[in-house]
C-alpha cells in the first residue's frame, strides 16, 4: 500500500475507533489513537497476516502487549476481513459479546490474551525463540506502552531477547509520554530510554510514530541489525488526530459525547478532504 493510501486508512481507522467507543460506551480512546498508525503500517504493509493464513504457524505474528488499546486492534482486524465492521460496532463492550475491553483469542485474528501490562514481551520472545528453534522465517512484532515499561518483566524479557539473538523480534514502544496519572517522566522516569534499550542489547531506532510513510520505510528494513532484536521507539501523540484529545491524559479511558464525536468526525473528514485534494 502506498503512503497516500496508508494515510487515508489511518483516518478511516480513527473514525471507526471513535465510533465503536462512542457506541460501546467504554474504551481506551487516546491510547488507541496514538498507536493506530503503527498497526495500520504493520497490517497493511509489513506483516503477512491474513484470515486465510491465520491458522498457519509460519506467518508473521503480532502480540499487543498494551492490550488496553484493543479498539485500534479490533478496528484494523475488521478491515483485514477477520469479521465485519458492523459486528464490531454492535458488539463492542456489550454483555455476552466477545468484543470485550482487552484482546482475547475468542476474537478472530487475535493472537494472545493481554490486558495485564508487562506480559506481551515475554510471550513474544518465546514465540520468536520457537521460530528460531524450528527454523521458521516468521517475525514477531509486539507493541508496548511507555508507562508499561515500569513492569520489571519487560526488562527480564529484553535480556532473553538479546541473549538468544532474536533478530526475528521487533519491539515497538508507543512513546506517547503519558500514562494514566500523567507524564511518564513525572510518574516514574524512563529516560534515557534509547540508551537503556541499547544497553540491553537491542538495535534501536527512533521515529515519528504517527507518520505512516516513515514507519513503512523503517519497518521495511527490519532486522535493524543481524543478530540483535530490533526496537523501535515510536514517538507518538496520545489522542492523535482529534485536536481536543491530543496529549491530554484525561482521554486515556474516556468516551466522547455525541457532540464531541461529531466534532471529532468532522475534523477527520476535513483531514481526509485535504488529503484527497478536493477542498
Amino acid at each position: 500500500m502506498n503512503a497516500h493510501e496508508l494515510r487515508l486508512k489511518s483516518i478511516a481507522y480513527r473514525k471507526t475507533i471513535l465510533e465503536i467507543i462512542h457506541r460501546g460506551g467504554a474504551g481506551h480512546t487516546a491510547g488507541s489513537l496514538s498507536c493506530v498508525d503503527i498497526l495500520n503500517v504493520l497490517y497493511n504493509h509489513i506483516m503477512n497476516i491474513t484470515p486465510e493464513n491465520f491458522n498457519k504457524i509460519n506467518r508473521d505474528h503480532y502480540i499487543q502487549s498494551k492490550g488496553h488499546s484493543v479498539e485500534a486492534l479490533y478496528t484494523v482486524l475488521a478491515d483485514q476481513g477477520f469479521y465485519s465492521r458492523d459486528e464490531l460496532l454492535e458488539g463492542l463492550n456489550q454483555n455476552y459479546s466477545k468484543f470485550i475491553g482487552h484482546p482475547t483469542r475468542k476474537v478472530p485474528g487475535i493472537e494472545h490474551n493481554t490486558g495485564a501490562l508487562g506480559h506481551g514481551l515475554s510471550v513474544s520472545v518465546g514465540l520468536a525463540l520457537a521460530g528460531k528453534l524450528n527454523g521458521y522465517t516468521y517475525r514477531v512484532f509486539t507493541l508496548l506502552g511507555d508507562g508499561e515499561l515500569a513492569e520489571g518483566s519487560s526488562w527480564e524479557a529484553s535480556m532473553s531477547a538479546a541473549h538468544y539473538k532474536l533478530d526475528n523480534l521487533v519491539v515497538i514502544v508507543d512513546r506517547n509520554t503519558l500514562q494514566i496519572t500523567g507524564r511518564t517522566e513525572e510518574v516514574n522516569g524512563l529516560e534515557p530510554l534509547a540508551d537503556k534499550f541499547t544497553a540491553f542489547g537491542y538495535a534501536v531506532r527512533q521515529i515519528d510514530g504517527n507518520n505512516v510513510e516513515a514507519l513503512a520505510d523503517l519497518l521495511g528494513t527490519v532486522p535493524f541489525e543481524v543478530g540483535k532484536p530490533s526496537l523501535l521507539l515510536a514517538n507518538t501523540v496520545k489522542g492523535k488526530g482529534v485536536s481536543y484529545m491530543e496529549d491530554q491524559k484525561a482521554w486515556h479511558h474516556k468516551v466522547p459525547t455525541d457532540e464531541q464525536l461529531a466534532t471529532a468526525l468532522a475534523e477527520l473528514d476535513a483531514a481526509r478532504l485535504e488529503l484527497e485534494g478536493i477542498r
Binding site: 454483555n95 470485550i100 475491553g101 482475547t104 515500569a150 520489571g152 500514562q179 496519572t181 510518574v187
Partner: protein
C-alpha cells in the same frame, strides 16, 4: 425488621475519604500507588498530602516490596492497586515481604471481584481469597458497605498489621445503622435475623443476600443474613450458630467457588461433624461469561431472586 436501604458511595471512595481524614493527623500514614491513584479515588489525597503519597509507576511487585521497606522504616503503609494485579502479580512480595516478614503493610485491592466487568478476566480478581488463605499471617477483609469500610480502615490504622482489604467500584447500599452497629475485625455482623436458613455473605454480594431474605420473608421463610466481612481471622462462632440454629446454609461471594468463603465454611463444618444442606454460590470453575458486574452477578445467581431460588431448592420448598 427490614428498613429501606439507602444508597451510599463506592466503598473505595469511603476508603480514600477516611484515609485522607486519618492521614491529616498522622504524618506516618503513607499511600503507595502504581499509576492507580485515579482508580483508587486518591487524586484528592495526592493533592492535599503530596508528601504522604509515593508513586512507583506500573510496577505492582515493586509497589508491595517497597511498601514493606517503608513499613520497616516505621511508616503505616497502604499499598493501593487493582485487586487483580496486587494479589497475583505481587503475590510473592505479599507472601514473603509482608506476611512472612511480618511487616504491617495494608494491601488494598481496588476495583475488586468483577468490578471491571467487560474489561475481562485479566482485570477480574476472583482468586484473591483463595491464594491469600494459603498464606499465613495476613488478615483478609472485604467490607460490604460504607460503614464496614470505614470501620475496617480505622481499626487497621489503630493496630497496623499485615492485611488485605478488597474494595469494589460501584456505589453500595447501606446495610447497617452506624449509630447502633458494632464493628470488630473478625466478628461477623448479623444483618437479618432468621430461623429457617442462613445466607453467609462476604463483600459486595451482601445486599443481594438481604434482598433474598426479603423475598423469602414474603413466602414465610425466615432467612438469616450474616455479613462475614472478615475471612481471616474467621468468625467460627457465627458459622456454628447458623449451623445449629437454622436448617440450611448458603454462602455467597464475588469469587471463584474454589478456595473462598464457601469452602472455608464447608471444611469447618465437616471437621466439626456437622452435616447440613449447604450450597456455595460464586463463579464456577470455567471461563466466565463476558458482562458487567450486574450481569455477571445475575448470570451466576448472585442476586436476590437467584439466592432465593437456591434457598427454596435447598429447603425443598416448591412455589
Amino acid at each position: 425488621m427490614a428498613t429501606e436501604k439507602t444508597m451510599g458511595k463506592p466503598n473505595q471512595q469511603v476508603f480514600s475519604d477516611t484515609l485522607l481524614d486519618l492521614a491529616q493527623n498522622d504524618k506516618d500514614i503513607l499511600v503507595v500507588t502504581s499509576d492507580s491513584r485515579g482508580s483508587g479515588k486518591l487524586v484528592a489525597f495526592g493533592e492535599t498530602l503530596p508528601e504522604q503519597i509515593v508513586e512507583v509507576g506500573i510496577a505492582e511487585q515493586n509497589l508491595v516490596g517497597l511498601s514493606s521497606g517503608l513499613a520497616a522504616g516505621g511508616k503505616k503503609v497502604f499499598a493501593v492497586s487493582p485487586a487483580c494485579f496486587v494479589t497475583i502479580r505481587s503475590l510473592e512480595q505479599v507472601k514473603n515481604d509482608v506476611a512472612y516478614s511480618d511487616r504491617p503493610v495494608c494491601v488494598v485491592g481496588i476495583s475488586a471481584g468483577v468490578s471491571y466487568g467487560l474489561l475481562g478476566s485479566t482485570h477480574h480478581a476472583i482468586h484473591d481469597y483463595a491464594v491469600l488463605r494459603c498464606i499465613n499471617n495476613i488478615d483478609i477483609l472485604a467490607p460490604a458497605d460504607n460503614f464496614e469500610t470505614e470501620q475496617v480502615l480505622r481499626a487497621l490504622v489503630e493496630h497496623p498489621r499485615p492485611a488485605y482489604i478488597r474494595l469494589g467500584k460501584q456505589a453500595m447500599p447501606n446495610l447497617h445503622d452506624p449509630a447502633t452497629a458494632i464493628f470488630e475485625i473478625g466478628k461477623a455482623i448479623q444483618v437479618r435475623p432468621g430461623t429457617d436458613l442462613t445466607i453467609i455473605s462476604i463483600g459486595e454480594p451482601t445486599p443481594h443476600a438481604v434482598d433474598a431474605a426479603d423475598l423469602l420473608a414474603k413466602e414465610g421463610i425466615s432467612c438469616r443474613v450474616i455479613s462475614m466481612h472478615t475471612l481471616r481471622p474467621f468468625d467460627r462462632d457465627a458459622l456454628m450458630d447458623a449451623a445449629l440454629n437454622t436448617r440450611a446454609i448458603i454462602t455467597v461471594e464475588e469469587h471463584s467457588v474454589n478456595g473462598g468463603l464457601g469452602e472455608l465454611c464447608a471444611s469447618t463444618l465437616m471437621q466439626e461433624g456437622i452435616q447440613i444442606p449447604f450450597k456455595i454460590v460464586g463463579f464456577p470453575d470455567e471461563y466466565t461469561i463476558n458482562g458487567d458486574q450486574e450481569t455477571m452477578f445475575k448470570h451466576y445467581g448472585i442476586s436476590g431472586e437467584g439466592l432465593a431460588e437456591t434457598a427454596r431448592k435447598l429447603l425443598g420448598v416448591r412455589i
